[in-house]
Amino acid sequence: MKNEWPLWEIFIRGQHGMSHRHVGSLHAPDAEMAIKNARDVYTRRNEGVSIWVVEANHIAASSPSDKGPLYEPSESKVYRHPTFFDIPEEVGAM
């Protein structure tokens, strides 16, 4: 156990122009090997064009009990979402 390879979280950009998405985790001795392992483990079916790896214990996460304070305020700001606005069809794409 003392010598277990650290755990890495893997993020993959599936197509050009998309953002990276968390796809899973794996073990590797360092970041370079984590990228290589990610290529072998998570892109076996041509799923990716770019890989990010982050050591799992370097990820700072919000705690679930913050769920209310952290996210609810934005729920009421519906105007931030483009679908909030009715744009007349004649105006065209926007």
Partner: protein, 253 residues
């Protein structure tokens, strides 16, 4: 020897290398030191099997006797195999497997780079596809050789032992004969000897990073790529690989 004969022999050499090495690497599936390596080794083996289908497929076509890649893989005896001995030696421990992979990948990547400029466009096309796969094999095997060479005392010792065992099998990849001369004349493939300099530069750099010492000997086993004398190991490998096809001739699988 006609040009067609030589071309056929050359294609067998390419295809038998990937066939036999791919078979060896596939033996690791389910037994590797860690899951991530298990998956990575399987990817390497899969690439090599795919390349085999292309090289032996073309070999059958060039030979013109209606033989498929499967016929060539499963229905020839040991003396008709043209892979270098390096590919057929047993896996040994993980260190020896990865050292063998690195020593082969280094040659393979240089060879494919040259073949991409082959006068035969079918050869160039296969080389183009394979070279992308092999560039990654090389990166991975080189990294692993460096990591284990420069790892613990034990891993260093095992990697040096692997290199000492395998080094006498390196020279065969650079030996030239009539087949090669014919291929050079036709512009299909380079003279093997002409790859050596680039190979030595690459291999010395990586093995240096791995803190390993290249044995001070130019002795080279030979006989695989000509078929004159394989190791005892090849027969056992073929016994397994060809068993079903031999026992049930003509069956479709």
């Amino acid at each position: 020897m006609t040009r067609e004969d030589a071309f056929f022999q050359f294609l067998l050499r390419m295809g038998d290398n990937t066939l036999i090495l791919g078979h060896r690497v596939s033996e690791w599936c389910g037994h590797a030191p860690v899951l991530e390596e298990d998956i990575a080794l399987a990817n390497t083996a899969l690439d090599l099997i795919g390349q085999t289908q292309m090289w032996l497929g073309l070999a059958g076509e060039v030979q013109g006797e209606g033989r498929t890649a499967d016929d060539l893989a499963f229905l020839r005896d040991a003396w008709d195999f043209r892979n270098v001995l390096l590919c057929e030696v047993p896996n040994g421990d993980f260190g020896r497997t990865l050292m063998r992979q690195f020593l082969f990948d280094a040659w393979h990547s240089i060879q494919l780079g040259r073949l991409m400029k082959s006068s035969d466009e079918r050869v160039a096309a296969i080389a183009e596809k394979a070279s992308k796969e092999v560039a990654y094999h090389l990166e991975r095997s080189a990294d692993t050789v460096v990591g284990l060479g420069d790892g613990t005392e034990e891993s260093h010792r095992r990697m040096q032992e692997a290199l000492d065992y395998l080094w006498p099998y390196v020279g065969e990849m650079f030996q030239s004969d009539d087949v090669d001369a014919e291929m050079v004349k036709a512009g299909i493939a380079p003279d093997p000897a002409s790859l050596r300099e680039e190979y030595d530069v690459l291999v010395s750099r990586i093995l240096g990073d791995a803190t390993l010492i290249i044995p001070d000997s130019s002795f080279a086993h030979k006989g695989g790529r000509t078929g004159a004398m394989h190791t005892e190991h090849l027969g056992h490998l073929l016994t397994q690989m060809q068993w079903l096809q031999r026992v049930y001739p003509g069956a479709k699988w």
